[in-house]
Structures are given as C-alpha cells and as structure tokens.
C-alpha cells in the first residue's frame, strides 16, 4: 500500500532493463519500497539489477519473462505478477524502442515492429494492468511517454507517433480509471542520456534517468496525472506545440 508521503511498498516494472525504470525503482527502494518485480523479454537481463535492488534494501525481488510483442501472453503474465507477492502499488510501463528513422523508412517492416512494441504492446499490457488495479482498488500505472509524442518531428516520426498514440492512450485510460482507486501517471521525459540515446547529439534541456526518476516519485506523491522531466519542458513544449508548421519543420530539423 502507498503511504502518505508518497512511498510505495511494491512495484512491477514492465521493461525491467530500462535505465529510467531502474533509476525510479532505486529511488522507491530508497524510500522504503520492499517488493520489486522486474519483467523483461529475457529475465536474465534483469539479474544484475535485481541483485542491486536487493542490496539497496528490497526484501522481495523477483524477475519474470514478459515479451511486449507477444500480446496473447500479457494477460497471464500480468495476472501472475499481481498474485505472486500480493498487491502492486505501482506498475512502471517502461518498455520501448527508439529505432532509427532512416532504417524505418528503408524497411517499413522494422517500423511496424517498433510500433508494435511501443504502442500495440503498451495498449495490451496497459489494459491488463488496469484491470488488475481496478480489482485491487488502488495502485498507479506509470507510463513512460516522451516529449517526442507531444509534437511529432519529421526526424523521428515513427517513434514520435508511437509515443503520441501511447500518450493519448494513457491519458484516456487515466480518465477512465477515475473513481476506481486506480490511476495513471503519464511521464514525458525529454532527451535522456541512456544506452538508448548513446551517440546521439543531445537536445536542449537534456536530462538523466535520475531526474526522470525524481519526477516520477514526486508525481506519485502529489497524485499528479502528468509529469515532465525536466519540468521546464512543459513550458517549452506548450510553446512549440503552437508553432506554425513551416517554423516547426525548421525548428525540428535537428536529430
């Protein structure tokens, strides 16, 4: 169960190798979270993170297999996660692929696969999580969206549009859960320095997984529906959102 100062007792990460998710989990464990479930396509990829989380003070740490593309298995896997160690206070939906826009354009099948993970897989997993949270009467689904979805750029419009879809899905899901005790927190990070973005030229207001993690735990504590990381991105994007198309094209030429 959550406490009054924003602490959570249990968390499930879908996409248990995500650096943002792991930074968030570290922060939660630091604040008293004791049950951590890490789910990834290959659960062995989470073993090092699981050991670190246990070292940091979590007492119940588990890994499980979860494949975002295998939507038929989502119901069973997620139901199992919800019964294995009792209630889940937070589920972090953190899987996703960035991909390469040029590659997507050269091979549309690759674009489809990315969209399957980022959007289709997330819709499926999100709905199964929501069903469990509703039954439980409490808990928050944290969805890692992106500023790339706030206004899609020509330089990464496949990824951006998958995040735009995910963002809309997550907001709608959150609204549909009002009154059920469950909730959704949409997280919109900007450019985050991680493996995913290695070698890319950082965008202005670039940030770190730790900053995103803090935005998530603070957002949970305040019961917010949307958080930006870093926070000033909210203002920046509310401006950029309304930029006339030709100017936007010009402004979004970079990376």
């Amino acid at each position: 169960m959550r406490d009054a100062v924003g602490g959570v007792q249990s968390v499930l990460v879908l996409g248990g190798t995500s650096e943002i998710a792991l930074a968030t989990v570290r922060r939660m464990v630091d604040q008293g979270c004791r049950t951590v479930l890490l789910a990834a396509r290959n659960p062995d990829d989470c073993l090092a993170a699981a050991a670190a989380v246990r070292e940091a003070g979590a007492t119940t740490v588990d890994t499980l297999a979860f494949d975002a593309l295998d939507t038929a298995s989502h119901g069973t896997v997620i139901d199992e996660a919800f019964t294995r160690h009792g209630d889940l206070d937070v589920v972090l939906l953190a899987f996703g692929v960035l991909g390469d826009q040029a590659e997507f354009e050269a091979d549309p099948a690759k674009a489809v696969a990315a969209v399957q993970v980022n959007y289709v897989g997330a819709v499926s997993a999100g709905l199964h999580v929501a069903r469990n949270l509703r039954r439980q009467g409490h808990g928050t689904l944290v969805v890692l969206s992106s500023v790339a979805g706030e206004r899609v750029r020509k330089t990464n419009f496949v990824y951006g549009s998958s995040k735009a879809g995910l963002d809309g899905f997550a907001q709608g899901l959150g609204d549909s859960l009002v009154g059920t005790g469950a909730s959704v927190l949409v997280v919109r990070p900007g450019f985050v320095h991680t493996r995913m973005t290695e070698g890319m030229e950082p965008a202005p207001l670039s940030t770190t997984p730790e900053v995103v993690a803090e935005a998530v735990t603070d957002g949970l504590a305040k019961g917010q529906a949307v958080v930006w990381a870093p926070a000033p991105l909210r203002l920046v994007m509310s401006g950029l959102r309304h930029l006339p198309r030709p100017l936007w094209r010009k402004a979004s030429e970079r990376g």
């Binding site: 406490d3 009054a4 100062v5 924003g6 009154g179 059920t180 735990t217 305040k222 019961g223």
Partner: protein
C-alpha cells in the same frame, strides 16, 4: 448481503492514499451484522465517521461497512450513568442527548465526530487520560459480530483476550454492533478553565508535572515554529466541569445550565491550493495564537466545544492542506525519556516543520489492550503537510528515537510508519495476532492499514 454496495473512493481525514471499495450502508443492527456475511475476496472492514488520519477505515478492492446509520441509544441508566449505544452513534449525538440530562461521555478526543465503534477500535483518549484513562477503560461490555457468523457479547471478564484485542484493535477482530459504557456526571455544560502561557519546554513540562493532577482535563498547545530559547513554549489549558454555582445566576436553570447546541460556524471551501500551509503562514499563525493567550488566567468559563473541540467549529478544516493532504504524527515516550522528547521537538523545530496546533499531553496508566496506544508518559501530536518533503525522512529517523525510548506511534493517526518498527512499538503484537487468528482464521477482516503494516 441485503444492502447493495456502491463503489466509492475513500480516504482518511488526512486525505492521503485513497482507495476504492464497495461501500454498504446498513440501517439496522441486523443489517450491520449481516455485512460480514459472504465476504468478498479482499475482505471487509467497518468505518465510522472517517476521522482516523490514515488508511485504517478503508479496504481497497474489498467491502467497507459504513456504520453511521446504525445509531442511537439502546439502553440508558440515568441513575448509575451507564449507556448502551449502537456502534454508529457519534459522540456528538451522545452529547446532544446526554449533556442536557447531566451526563457527559467518559472520554472525548479533539473532535465530536467519532463513533462509539471507532472509539473502541482506536481506544481513543482525550484531555482526561492522566486521570481517567482511555475510552475502553470505561466500556463494560460490547457486542461483536465475528466473521464465522457468531454474535458475541464480550466483557473484560467473559473473554478478556478478545475484549482487549478489540480495544484499539483497528476493527480487525469483528464488527462492533453496540457497546455499554460509563458516563461522567456533570452539573453544567461549561468548564472552568485555567490558562497558563509557558516560556519554554522546561517550564511547560514542569508545570504539567507539578499540577496536572489537580485538573481532570489538561492539554498543552505547543509552538513548534519557535526555535532557540523559547523552544517548546506552550499554552496550557486545564479545567474541570463547572459546578452549578459557578455559573451566573441567570444561567442556573436546568435548561440553561446544561444547554448544548454546538454549531459549525463555517465550512472550509474545497479551494485551498497545496502549499497554503507553509513556514510563513504557520509562524504567523502560531505567533498570533501564542500572543492572544493570557499569561495566566484562572476560572474562565468555556463551552464544551471551545474547550474540547475547537476545530469542529470549522467543518472540513482538513481542506486547508490542499489536495495533497496531510498526515498526523503522534507518538508517546515513557516518563523519564524527557531528553528524547526534547531532542525530537528540537529536531522538528530545526527542520521548520510547519506544524500548527501541535499538542502535548501527559498520559496516565495504560490499559491491558495489546494495541492500545497510551502508556504513562508524554504524547505529542502534530500535523504535517503530505507529499514529498525532507520531513518524511526526518520523521522516519525520529520513529527510531521513539522506539529506542520504549515509545510508540498512535496507529489511528498513522499513514506512513515503516512496518518493521511495529513489533518494537507494540511488543504484545503476537498476543493480538493470536486472538485475531482465533476469531478470524480466514482473514476476512482487512483494511489498507492492515495490508500496509502487514498486520
């Protein structure tokens, strides 16, 4: 289940960590007892007027039984001063009915808006604890519906284990249907109050040690915003019910002498932003509060509401903290641990903990309840805005100090303690668990608090 359940999001008075449950509202004792039948997978818990600060009276995904419509006096002995009331009866109603007849509830906390069932489940205490103990000291019998379907009449002699496990048992031993308790005779509905303003903590503690026993009711309001030499400065308000001849002659008719018609003067609008309670506003408020109190005043006549329930004058005052809500931290440390008390107060003052109306009280003897909160010593209660803050860390650290001193937290107020500290705070927890296992082997009675703390 005869009464249909509606899904509602419930929170405690602090407004933190809400959760949804199927709420049923029985309107008779039979329906109340039936609310434990056919329990859903996630269990059942009873709820009164929702004045516990945390998550004690909510049950995410399960059933919550709102007892407030099962209200009324079942039996009343006006010669002996003994009352039997249904579990959902509020202390406010009891006062409205009984004060004009010359009787007062045996214990009242800082609000009238608690039920008889809630009073037992939290073993509530008030300004008279140093003399009269807590609520369950005055209960001679209670009727309890057990998960197995039995309804039992429990007295401290018939089944002492179950009686005392229910006293402060957080509603987890059964649904209380009614209770029989002693009343306190009064000649008037006014109190004769002595007020003392003390310059610092030493003076506060000394004055309470020295003369609390001269008063049936005593409490100190302590200014936690004041640092330095004046740390711990307080306003002591101590008193007793006034005898008839203490009233002005015109007020000595029975109708006037025992008049009791409390009214709320205002309702706090649901508009307060987060952050209204901040170091600036609280320092200013506390300074004003301290200065407006007389240095020393004797024998002032006050009403029951002014003396016992000043906050009840503003309905929904909890909204002042904004949507993020607040928590209350209340601990007790045994006598002899004044240095711990001082360290904690000093740490809170240094942190600038933005708490107005922190309350300091000397407790008297404990009762046999394994989860009953009071023990002989000093108790301090303070409100803190919820949400992310360095205070959460500080309070976590101070919990350890409380435990090291042999003290504990009040679970009726708790919404954040680390579960691993519970057994040190309540060393007889296993005794309580054994009773619970006996009467509720399937774990039907459940609450968010029970889940959070692993009870």
């Amino acid at each position: 289940m005869e009464t249909p359940a509606t899904t509602e999001v419930l929170a405690g008075w602090g407004g933190t960590a809400p959760s949804a449950a199927g709420v049923v509202r029985p309107t008779s004792v039979d329906e109340l007892a039936g609310a434990l039948d056919d329990p859903p997978e996630r269990g059942v818990i009873a709820r009164g007027l929702g004045r516990c600060y945390g998550d004690e009276a909510q049950n995410a995904g399960g059933r919550v039984v709102d007892t407030t419509a099962v209200s009324g006096i079942v039996d009343l002995d006006l010669r002996q001063g003994v009352c039997t009331a249904a579990a959902g009866t509020s202390l406010e109603d009891l006062m409205r009915w009984l004060v004009p007849l010359g009787w007062f509830v045996p214990v009242t906390p800082g609000t009238r808006f608690v039920t008889v069932g809630g009073a037992i489940a939290n073993d509530i205490h008030g300004k008279n604890h140093h003399k009269g103990g807590s609520w369950c000291n005055h209960v001679s019998a209670l009727t309890l519906r057990l998960p197995g379907g039995d309804t039992v009449r429990v007295t401290p002699d018939s089944d002492p284990d179950l009686f005392w496990a229910t006293a402060g048992g957080l509603g987890l031993t059964g649904i209380i249907l009614d209770a029989t308790f002693d009343l306190h005779p009064i000649e008037t509905s006014r109190l004769l109050v002595d007020t003392d303003r003390t310059p610092d903590l030493d003076a506060t503690l000394a004055l309470m040690d020295e003369s609390d026993d001269e008063y049936p009711y005593s409490v100190a309001w302590i200014d936690l915003m004041k640092t330095g030499a004046g740390m711990g400065r307080s306003i002591l308000g101590r008193g007793a019910f006034a005898p008839l001849d203490a009233l002005p002659a015109k007020d000595r008719t029975p109708g006037r002498a025992r008049a009791f018609s409390p009214s709320t003067r205002a309702t706090f609008p649901p508009l307060a932003p987060n952050g209204l309670i901040n170091p600036l506003t609280v320092t200013a408020f506390n300074e004003l509060w301290y200065r407006k109190a007389p240095k020393r005043r004797r024998g002032e006549l006050q009403t029951i509401t002014t003396f016992f329930h000043p906050l009840d004058m503003v309905e929904r005052w909890n909204r002042v903290y904004g949507p993020v809500g607040f928590l209350q931290w209340q601990f007790v440390v045994p006598f002899g641990e004044e240095q711990t008390l001082r360290r904690i107060i000093s740490a809170l003052c240094d942190e600038g903990c933005t708490s107005f109306l922190a309350v300091l009280k000397r407790f008297g003897a404990a009762n046999p309840g394994p989860l009953s909160f009071p023990l002989p010593g000093w108790t301090l209660a303070l409100d803190i805005p919820a949400g992310p803050s360095s205070l959460a860390r500080l309070i976590d650290r101070l919990d350890d100090e409380v435990v090291a001193a042999g003290g504990r937290l009040y679970l009726a107020k708790d919404s954040r303690v680390r579960p691993e500290l519970l057994e040190a705070m309540y060393p007889r927890l296993d005794e309580w668990r054994a009773v619970r296992a006996r009467v509720d082997p399937d774990g039907v009675l459940r609450s968010d608090l029970a889940r959070r703390l692993g009870l």
